[in-house]
Each structure stands twice: as structure tokens, then as C-alpha cells.
């Protein structure tokens, strides 16, 4: 029986475009991270606090991914930063091509940091490289301390974990130590931050980390 050998990664095309994005970011000395979480964990709120803190120090732009609406882009635009909304129309994750297209609307030479806020989903975005330097996974305390064990792929592929809504710890059944332990079991290299976008606890440390990443770039 004739056989045609292929041996090609199914997502090779996405990986190629992601590499083009990565090369482009490198040319402009941009620090780019891909922010992922389940819906409602507080990605956009974290961005709002981040922009509030850093917009006078760093030139930041945001690519927003959502299944529908430009609500998040509107929230981010209030901080006077460039923002592009990608509406996936049902798509459960961003792909490198969508980000590449969105980049056309952003003046990259005038930036230090680009944040890609992915579609709220702890499953699919883990498998799609967008060209970012690293993935930041956000988990909120009301989601429970077992999230890392239930969605291990995302925690394994991320470099940074932000535990958000720590101000709600007295009211929700979430053991912070267990949450950290579960995440670090999956990925011992995770850098962990604890934040509240309401009380602003932990926001300065998180923002300093972003600033340090950015200044390490050429």
C-alpha cells in the first residue's frame, strides 16, 4: 500500500506565524506576555490596575481577545493606551494569525510592553503559541484551590501565576497555601504573585516585575 510520509506538526502553521510575531517583537525590543485565565478571574481588572500604575513609566499596548463584544477594549482604552480588540466569534482561543493581523493597527516602535489578553478559557489557549515571551496564568480565589490540578496544561505552560481576588479569601472556600502547592506541583518554576484589584494588594510587586522584564530587553 503506497504511503506518503508527512511528519508535520498539525499546528506548524500557527507556530510559524508565532515565530514571525516573536521576531517582530524582538526587533522592536518589546516585552510581550500572553495573559490567560478562566472567564471572570479578573484579567481585564488586573490590566486596569497595571495600566494605572505603569502608564507613566512604560509605553504599553493591549490586544484584547473575546468571543463577543469590545467591552474589554473600551475598559482598557480609558487609560489612554493603544488597544485592539479581536472578536473571535465563538473561537475559544487566540491564534498567532489573529494577533499578527491585530499588530497592523499598533505602532510597535513606540512601545515597551505588549499585553495579549486571551479569551477566557483554561484549556485551548495553552496549546497556541502567539509569539509571546511568556504566558501569565491568572487564577482567582473563588475558583477554588484545585484549579491547577483540573487544568494542568495551562499551569505547566505558564511562567507566571497571579492569584487574584485575595481580598475575598475570608469569604470563599479557598486554601491559598493549597492553591500555591497545587500549582507548584504541576510547575515548580512558576513565579507567583498574589493580588487584589479591589484593595490593590500585590499590584506594586506585579508591576515592578513587568518593569524589570521590560528593562531587560535590548
Amino acid at each position: 500500500m503506497p504511503v506518503i510520509t508527512i511528519e508535520r506538526k498539525v499546528l506548524a502553521k500557527n507556530d510559524e506565524i508565532a515565530q514571525q510575531n516573536r521576531d517582530l517583537f524582538a526587533r522592536h525590543g518589546l516585552f510581550v506576555f500572553n495573559l490567560v485565565s478562566s472567564p471572570g478571574a479578573g484579567k481585564t481588572s488586573l490590566l486596569e490596575r497595571t495600566l494605572e500604575t505603569l502608564r507613566d513609566r512604560l509605553r504599553i499596548a493591549v490586544v484584547e481577545g473575546d468571543v463577543q463584544t469590545d467591552f474589554d477594549a473600551q475598559r482598557v482604552a480609558r487609560y489612554g493606551v493603544p488597544v485592539v480588540q479581536i472578536v473571535t466569534n465563538g473561537g475559544c482561543h487566540l491564534e498567532a494569525r489573529l494577533v499578527q493581523d491585530a499588530l497592523a493597527a499598533i505602532a510597535l516602535p513606540e512601545l515597551d510592553v505588549l499585553v495579549i489578553e486571551n479569551v477566557g478559557n483554561l484549556v485551548c489557549p495553552a496549546n497556541y503559541d502567539l509569539g509571546e515571551a511568556l504566558k501569565v496564568v491568572l487564577v482567582s480565589t473563588p475558583e477554588g484551590d484545585d484549579k491547577p490540578l483540573k487544568y494542568p496544561g495551562m499551569f505547566r505552560n505558564a511562567s507566571v501565576l497571579v492569584i487574584n481576588k485575595v481580598d475575598l479569601l475570608p469569604y470563599v472556600p479557598c486554601d491559598l497555601a493549597a492553591l500555591r502547592r497545587n500549582a507548584l506541583q504541576i510547575n515548580p518554576a512558576l513565579r507567583v504573585f498574589e493580588t487584589s484589584c479591589t484593595t490593590k494588594a500585590g499590584i506594586p510587586e506585579w508591576c515592578e516585575w513587568i518593569a524589570a522584564q521590560s528593562s531587560r530587553r535590548p
Binding site: V3, I4, I6, E7, V10, G91, Q185
Partner: protein, 125 residues
């Protein structure tokens, strides 16, 4: 969750490697699916079937090779298949394991009829 777009990628790759005239002769498409790839094989199979139905690739069946998650311990060198996704070495208890396989998602090859000319012509629409 995104099996349909993955299935579409598989169809695109097959078309890239198989000359159009031989497409009706394709009987199977071998894909390697790692347990960490996030792909549900049954769903991928369903989506692939839906995409090729009524096309010149309609005889093609997906042949899924499952790849288990395999790690090698960086401390003692033991090779093991971790339970869940917690990569602790069962031999020495070390937490620094390197993933060897499991995240695979690849099109390996396609198989064709011995004589593609003998294959039934695609239905004319």
C-alpha cells in the same frame, strides 16, 4: 474544544502533501496525538469525518496513534509515565522531570490505495 480547527489543519496539511489527483485514493491519515495535546480523539475523528464528507478525500479515515506522557527524571535519569500531570519521579521523588513525549500533535503519513486509478471517481456535483 478546538478540534474542528485542528481537523481543518490536518486536512490542509494532507492537501499540501498529496497531489490533487491522488486525493481520492487516500484511505487513511495517520495522526499522532499526545495525551497532553488537549485533543479529544473521538471529537477529532468526528470533525475530520465531517470535513472530508462529500469531498475528494471522503474515503480517508483518521488513524489516531495515542502517545502517552513520558518523562525522564533530571536527577536520577529514571524514565516514567507520570500520573495526571504531576511530574514527580517515582524512583527518587525528584520534581525536576523533563517531558520526553506526550504533547505531540502530528500528521505522520497518509496511506493510499495500491492503484489510485482503481478508486471510485468522486461524485460529480
Amino acid at each position: 474544544m478546538h478540534e474542528m480547527s485542528v481537523a481543518q489543519n490536518i486536512v490542509d496539511i494532507v492537501r499540501q502533501y498529496v497531489p490533487a489527483a491522488q486525493a481520492p485514493g487516500v484511505t487513511s491519515v495517520r495522526v499522532r496525538v499526545g495525551s497532553l495535546s488537549g485533543i479529544v480523539p473521538e471529537s477529532l475523528d468526528f470533525c475530520f469525518g465531517a470535513l472530508v464528507a462529500g469531498t475528494d478525500l471522503s474515503r480517508a479515515r483518521l488513524d489516531i496513534e495515542h502517545v502517552p506522557t513520558v518523562c525522564v527524571c533530571r536527577e536520577c535519569g529514571a524514565r516514567f509515565e507520570p500520573e495526571a500531570l504531576i511530574f514527580f519521579c517515582p524512583s527518587c521523588g525528584g520534581g525536576r522531570a523533563q517531558l520526553v513525549s506526550g504533547s505531540d500533535l502530528q500528521v505522520v503519513h497518509v496511506e493510499l490505495d495500491d492503484d489510485p486509478r482503481g478508486a471510485p471517481a468522486p461524485a460529480a456535483n
